[in-house]
């Protein structure tokens, strides 16, 4: 492999931490290392840092700092939102509405509630572009519905869901509404008032912050049962000594992406369109997955019929290009993406999906290099494939 720079096209899986974020975190490891619960100056310094971070995030969310709960990741935020609301309301009802294309942090949590705790879950379908119809959500509501959880933008195909409309429905029915906004940060507005959401999940490592810290927005007055119990931190909703450096880092990273959100989204969308046009025009039997326009500016997801995604990824990697095949989860399950299946894609076709998600450091040159090598890679693998009539 040559020594040239890796072209990283997997920003939906994780991002490089912004050096300014690292700098913001560093003092909290070896200098301001106090426990934020402590009364002495080292502790008060830490508490102050947390307060500032909370205020910074609240500003982006257009909410009160009291409504911000820091967690250890997006998965924990999703778990806390769903399990926390479900357990809290067991006496009132046992029904949850979610979509069929959620991240596993949501879907597996709903499944555990079904299998182990007697809840009933409705998984509303999506159309061929991965869009939820708000009408389907409304139809699914019952008197016993205690939570609606629909993601803001899908991590595999980038489709943006009509959150604000679903939120209005939820509010009309008085049902708490959670959205997993992990993929939206840096691209879409996170104003919880406009979005009509009661709970919103973010994960820092998707927007140039560190892995292992997340946020859950919890609208004031909403009752949650804590899912991690102990010393009563985070307003008794999430116990555990606060990870001060990472919380500072998350807030810094969020502020930085928010500052340049609109410009950067435009730049990425143009790059992404260049990539999409190039791929679709140079590779036969290739298709773009997800919504043609209502999609994240940085997401392109292709299927290449008759080949399997992994082979393409390995071949790209050998060219110094990092991309992914559907979700970057570590289940090791060989089944095709549940998202593509929910969109009605044939399983054999779904196996050929390749996701490319652009980010801050990507340039037009990067895209051109991809367009230079990808057709050959697909061609070689098709020559190996018994499914290709070619």
């Amino acid at each position: 492999m040559s020594e040239r720079r890796v072209i990283y096209l997997d920003h939906a899986a994780t991002t490089r931490v912004d050096p300014r974020v690292v700098e913001a975190m560093l003092p909290y490891f070896t200098e301001r290392y106090g426990n934020a619960s402590a009364i002495y100056s080292l502790g008060r310094e830490a508490r102050q840092a947390l307060d500032q971070a909370r205020a910074g995030v609240a500003e982006v969310f257009n909410c009160s700092p009291k409504e911000i709960v820091f967690t250890s990741c997006g998965t924990e935020s999703d778990n806390l939102a769903i399990r926390g609301v479900a357990w809290m309301n067991r006496e009132r009802g046992d029904h949850i509405i979610t979509s069929s294309i959620e991240h596993h942090a949501v879907s597996h949590t709903c499944e555990q509630l079904e299998k182990q705790f007697g809840f009933n879950v409705t998984y509303v379908p999506v159309d061929e572009y991965g869009r939820v119809d708000p009408g389907d959500v409304e139809k699914a509501t019952t008197d016993g519905t205690v939570l609606i959880s629909i993601m803001y933008a899908n991590n595999e195909v980038g489709t943006i869901e009509p959150i604000s409309e679903i939120g209005e429905i939820a509010r009309n029915y008085g049902i708490p509404f959670h959205t997993d906004a992990v993929q939206a940060a840096g691209s879409l507005s996170l104003d919880v008032q406009e979005l009509n959401v009661d709970l919103l999940t973010l994960s820092s490592h998707k927007f140039y912050g560190p892995k292992g810290v997340g946020v859950l927005y919890v609208r004031e007055g909403l009752g949650l049962m804590p899912v991690q119990t102990g010393g009563g931190h985070e307003n008794d909703l999430r116990s555990g000594t606060e990870n001060v450096p990472y919380i500072v880092g998350l807030a810094k990273a969020l502020t930085l992406v928010e500052e340049r959100r609109e410009e950067e989204s435009q730049r990425l969308a143009a790059l992404r369109d260049h990539l999409t046009d190039g791929v679709l025009s140079s590779i036969p039997h290739s298709r773009l997955m997800g919504h043609p326009s209502e999609r994240l500016p940085n997401n392109a997801n292709f299927v290449f019929e008759h080949v399997e995604g992994e082979g393409i990824l390995l071949s790209l990697d050998m060219q110094g290009i990092a991309a992914s095949s559907g979700s970057a989860c570590s289940t090791g399950s060989a089944g095709p993406s549940h998202v593509l299946l929910a969109m009605g894609v044939q399983p054999s076709v779904a196996h050929g999906s390749v996701r490319m998600t652009l980010g801050r450091e990507n340039t037009e040159e990067d895209v051109d290099r991809v367009l230079g090598v990808l057709p050959g890679i697909v061609e070689r693998l098709r020559a190996l494939s018994p499914l290709y009539a070619g």
């Binding site: 008759h306 080949v307 399997e308 992994e310 082979g311 390995l314 050998m318 090791g332 399950s333 060989a334 089944g335 095709p336 399983p347 054999s348 196996h351 020559a383 190996l384 494939s385 018994p386 499914l387």
Partner: protein
């Protein structure tokens, strides 16, 4: 994730292709699950004279196909039929755990091809009133 040897076989697989007039063809897997393997053999004097494959599947599936063809080429049918998926994985220096059962099907494909050859021989033998190899 993959050993260097796996990557070599994935990048430059041996014996890729189709034998149009194959004596036996083994086809296993199904595209729903994500792995399909086709194995073609030419047999002469009860030996595998030539072998080719085509595979739809992940890197491991391609590499196991490739090395399996190397392992059986020139071998007697009786030897070749004993090739196990485990032996194939070992020859590659091991495979990631999650790849062991779903993408490690090359030996099965070899067996399927040999079975195909033998049943064809049997058919021929039956038609000609002779028995195939016992």
């Amino acid at each position: 994730m993959y050993s260097e040897l796996v990557m070599q076989h994935f990048t430059n697989p041996s014996n890729v292709g189709v034998i149009e007039d194959a004596d036996g063809v083994g086809k296993i897997g199904n595209p729903m699950c994500g792995d399909v393997m086709e194995m073609f053999i030419k047999v002469k004097d009860n030996r595998i004279e030539d072998v080719k494959f085509r595979t739809f599947g992940c890197g491991a599936a391609i590499a196991t196909s490739s090395i399996a063809t190397e392992m059986i080429k020139g071998k007697s049918l009786d030897e070749a039929v004993q090739l196990s998926n485990k032996a194939v994985a070992e020859a590659l220096g091991g495979l990631p755990a999650q790849k062991m059962h779903c993408s490690n099907l090359a030996a099965d494909a070899v067996r399927a091809a040999i079975d195909d050859y033998r049943s064809k021989q049997k058919d021929k033998g039956d038609k000609q009133g002779k028995t195939a190899d016992p």
